[in-house]
C-alpha cells in the first residue's frame, strides 16, 4: 500500500480524499494556488506545497509543477479527484513516466472515453445502444446538414467536454449557427479543444448512470445506478440512488452493458457509464466518465462501500474485495450540491467571505464540505461549497430527511442555492419521482410560486430586523460596549444602513 499520496485537487473533493488516505494510514500531500493558502485541504493535509497563481492553468492544471511537487515530496501516487487533471490522459502518462502511480484508469481508456466521438465508435462496435448523431467532430456546415437529416431538436457537444461546458441545445435551424459558435468558444476556453459534434435530442429523457469499479486483475463490478435527471443547463444539481424507475431487471441489464463498456475500454478504478433513459425505459449510451463522480456518495451510502478507499486499494494492485453477487443496495440516498450562486439572479456565482456557517448534522446526514466559517470563496474556481447527502430506509424518508437537513443549513455572507432545494424537494412531481432532465429548467422557468409566507413570519422578520439593530444600538450617550455580541456581524448592515440614513448605530 502507498505510504504517501498527493492530491492534485482542491476544495471538498481534496478534503474527502485526504480523509480517506488518513483512514488508510497514508500520508497526504496537498497542493494549492495563491488563492487557496488558507483553504481547508491545505490545513488538513500532512504536507502542502504552492503550485502558483490562482489561474488554474498556472496551478491545478500545471502538470509539470504538480509532478515536481510529487517528486520533491516523495509521493508514490496521485489522486486527481474530479475536474482539473482528472480526465487528462497526458497527465496520466506523465505520472507513469515520472514513476508515480496515477489513481485512475489507464491513459488509453481515458483517451478513448475522453473523446466522445471515439467513444461513440467504440461503443457502437461493442453493440451498446446509442443515440442517433455524428460520431466525430463537425464543421458548422456539416452540423447544419446532419441536424437537417436527423431532425431537430439536437444537442451540440464538445468532443472533449464534460459538465455541460461547451454544450448547447438547438431547437430550430435558425439558432444553430450562434449556438455552434458559443459551444466551440466555450469548449476552446474550457478544454483547449474546440472540436464539437452533434446528437439527436431524446425528448424528456432521464439521466441515469451506472457506477462501475474495476481492479487490475480483470474484475469489473457495477454498484447500481444513480438517478441524475435533476440538472440545470446540463449541470447535475440533485442526485439519488436508487432510481425510482429502475427495477432489478433493468438494473441488471444496464449494469451488464456498463461492465461490458468498461471492459471493452480496458478500464480500471472507479468509473461511470451515463445513459439517457426514455419514457419506455429504453436506455442509450451517453458517455463514460473516467473518474470519480461528484455524486459518488449516494452510491456509497446505499452499498455501504467507500469508493475512494477502493480506488486506493485498486491502484495499489489489490483485487476487488467482493464480487457482483455481494453487492446489495440498502435504503435510499439523495445528494444536493450546495453552490455559491444566486438562484434569484440567474445563478450567478456569489464568491465572498462566509461570515456564518451553520451545517446540518444528526441521523443519516453527511456533509462533504470544503469550506469553513471565515473562508473567502475565491472567484477563480467552481463555486461548489459542499455536497450534502442523506441516507434513510426509503425514498420518502430520505426526502423528508433532506428537507430537514436543508432547513438546518445556513451560509451567511454569500448567496447560495439552498433556497432552490426547498422548492425542488417540495415539488409534487419530484416527490412522486416524475422527473426528467428538463424538469429543473421548467421549474425555474415557472414563477417561484409566491407561497404566501404566513404574514406571521413577515411580522417576526420585521421585528427581528429591528431587534438586530436595537441589540447593537449604543446605551444612550456613551459608545458601543466592546463585549457587544452583535457588533462584528452587523457592521455590514451598519454600512448599508448609513447610506440609507438609518437610526445612528
Amino acid at each position: 500500500m502507498f505510504k504517501k499520496v498527493l492530491i492534485a485537487n482542491r476544495g471538498e473533493i481534496a478534503v474527502r480524499i485526504i480523509r480517506a488516505c488518513r483512514e488508510m494510514g497514508m500520508a497526504t500531500v496537498a497542493v494549492f494556488s495563491d488563492a487557496d493558502r488558507a483553504a481547508l485541504h491545505v490545513s488538513h493535509a500532512d504536507e502542502a506545497y504552492l503550485l502558483g497563481h490562482a489561474a488554474a492553468t498556472e496551478s491545478y492544471l500545471n502538470i509539470a509543477k504538480v509532478l515536481e511537487v510529487a517528486r520533491h515530496s516523495g509521493a508514490q501516487a496521485i489522486h486527481p479527484g474530479y475536474g482539473f487533471l482528472s480526465e487528462n490522459s497526458r497527465f496520466a502518462r506523465a505520472c507513469a513516466e515520472a514513476g508515480v502511480k496515477f489513481i485512475g484508469p489507464p491513459a488509453a481508456a481515458m483517451e478513448l472515453m475522453g473523446s466522445k466521438t471515439r467513444a461513440r465508435q467504440a461503443m457502437q462496435a461493442a453493440n451498446v445502444p446509442m443515440v442517433p448523431g455524428s460520431a466525430r467532430g463537425l464543421s458548422a456546415q456539416e452540423a447544419a446538414d446532419l441536424a437537417a437529416r436527423i431532425g431537430f431538436p439536437v444537442m451540440i457537444k464538445a468532443a472533449a467536454g464534460g459538465g455541460g461546458k461547451g454544450m448547447r441545445l438547438v431547437r430550430a435551424p435558425g439558432e444553430l449557427e450562434s449556438a455552434f459558435a458559443t459551444a466551440q468558444s466555450e469548449a476552446l476556453r474550457a478544454f483547449n479543444d474546440g472540436e464539437v459534434y452533434l446528437e439527436k435530442l431524446i425528448e424528456n429523457p432521464r439521466h441515469i448512470e451506472i457506477q462501475v469499479i474495476a481492479d487490475e486483475h480483470g474484475n469489473i463490478v457495477h454498484l447500481g445506478e444513480r438517478e441524475c435527471s435533476l440538472q440545470r443547463r446540463h449541470q447535475k444539481v440533485v442526485e439519488e440512488a436508487p432510481s425510482a424507475v429502475v427495477d432489478e431487471d433493468l438494473r441488471r441489464r444496464m449494469g451488464t452493458v456498463a461492465v461490458q463498456a468498461a471492459r471493452s475500454a480496458g478500464y480500471t478504478s472507479a468509473g461511470t457509464v451515463e445513459f439517457l433513459v426514455d419514457g419506455a425505459r429504453n436506455f442509450f449510451f451517453l458517455e463514460m466518465n473516467t473518474r470519480l463522480q461528484v455524486e459518488h456518495p449516494v452510491t456509497e451510502l446505499v452499498t455501504g462501500l467507500d469508493l475512494v478507499h477502493l480506488q486506493l486499494r485498486i491502484a495499489a494492485g489489490e483485487k476487488l474485495p467482493f464480487r457482483q453477487e455481494d453487492v446489495a443496495l440498502r435504503g435510499h440516498a439523495i445528494e444536493c450540491r450546495i453552490y455559491a450562486e444566486d438562484p434569484e439572479n440567474n445563478f450567478f456565482p456569489s464568491p465572498g467571505t462566509i461570515t456564518r456557517l451553520l451545517r446540518p448534522s444528526g441521523p443519516g446526514v453527511r456533509d462533504d464540505s470544503g469550506v469553513y466559517e471565515g473562508w473567502t470563496v475565491p472567484l477563480d474556481y467552481d463555486p461548489m461549497l459542499s455536497k450534502l447527502i442523506v441516507h434513510a430506509p426509503d425514498r420518502a424518508s430520505a426526502l423528508a430527511r433532506m428537507r430537514r437537513a436543508i432547513s438546518e443549513y445556513f451560509v451567511g455572507g454569500i448567496k447560495t442555492n439552498l433556497p432552490l432545494f426547498q422548492r425542488i424537494l417540495e415539488h409534487p412531481d419530484f416527490v412522486a419521482a416524475r422527473i426528467d432532465t428538463g424538469f429543473l429548467d421548467r421549474l425555474l422557468a415557472s414563477p417561484a410560486s409566491a407561497k404566501a409566507s404566513s404574514s406571521k413570519l413577515d411580522d417576526i422578520a420585521a421585528v427581528s430586523a429591528a431587534l438586530f439593530t436595537a441589540a447593537t444600538a449604543p446605551p444612550a450617550g456613551n459608545g458601543r460596549r466592546s463585549d457587544d455580541p452583535q457588533r462584528s456581524v452587523t457592521s455590514a448592515w451598519k454600512r448599508a444602513a448609513r447610506d440609507e440614513g438609518i437610526e445612528r448605530l
Partner: protein, 165 residues
C-alpha cells in the same frame, strides 16, 4: 426605540421596549411580548406566544435580509427622521435602464453594439466568471444607448456595462 422597517417592499413601524422578561414590541400598533436570545452574532432565537423562531441576519454585498428557515426577507431598517431615505424611490430614470455586472468577471463578447435595437430579454453581452459564460439581457425593448466596456474587459460587481433607452 422606534424603527421603520422596509420589508419585501412594505414599510412597517416597529417600536421596541426592553423589559425585564424580554422585549415589549409594537408592530404597526399591534402589541406583543417577545422573549429574545442572541446565541451568536447575527442569530437570534425569538419566542412569541410559545412559538419558537430561529432568525438569521444575512448581509451580502450591502443587501440585507432576514432568514427564517430557508425563507428570505429583504429588509432595510430606517430612522423615520432621516430624509435621505425618502429619496431613491424608483431606480428607473426617464426610460433609460442600466445593465450592470452582477459579479466580477470578464467581458467575452459584445452581442449588441451601441445603436442596436433590442427586444426585452435579448442578450446584449456575455461575461464569463468562474468558468461559466453568462448572457446579460436587455431589461427593456429599445436601443442600446451606450456600452461602457469592450470585449476582454475585466469588470467589477455592480459596474454599469451598458445603457438601454
Amino acid at each position: 426605540m422606534i424603527y421603520e422597517v422596509i420589508i419585501q417592499g412594505k414599510t412597517r413601524r416597529v417600536e421596541l421596549l426592553r423589559t425585564g422578561s424580554g422585549w415589549q414590541c409594537k408592530l404597526d400598533g399591534k402589541d406583543f411580548l417577545a422573549d429574545v436570545a442572541f446565541p451568536r452574532p447575527g442569530l437570534l432565537s425569538i419566542l412569541v406566544d410559545g412559538k419558537s423562531y430561529e432568525v438569521k441576519q444575512q448581509a451580502v454585498a450591502g443587501e440585507n435580509s432576514i432568514v427564517i428557515g430557508q425563507e428570505r426577507f429583504s429588509v432595510a431598517v430606517r430612522d423615520p427622521r432621516s430624509l435621505a431615505s425618502r429619496r431613491r424611490a424608483g431606480y428607473d430614470e426617464q426610460g433609460v435602464k442600466k445593465i450592470t455586472a452582477p459579479m466580477p468577471g470578464k467581458v467575452v463578447r459584445i452581442l449588441a453594439p451601441a445603436g442596436t435595437a433590442v427586444e426585452s430579454g435579448q442578450a446584449v453581452l456575455v461575461i464569463e466568471a468562474m468558468k461559466m459564460q453568462n448572457e446579460l439581457k436587455s431589461p427593456k425593448k429599445g436601443r442600446v444607448k451606450k456600452l461602457n466596456v469592450s470585449e476582454g474587459a475585466a469588470v467589477e460587481a455592480g459596474q454599469s456595462l451598458a445603457e438601454v433607452e
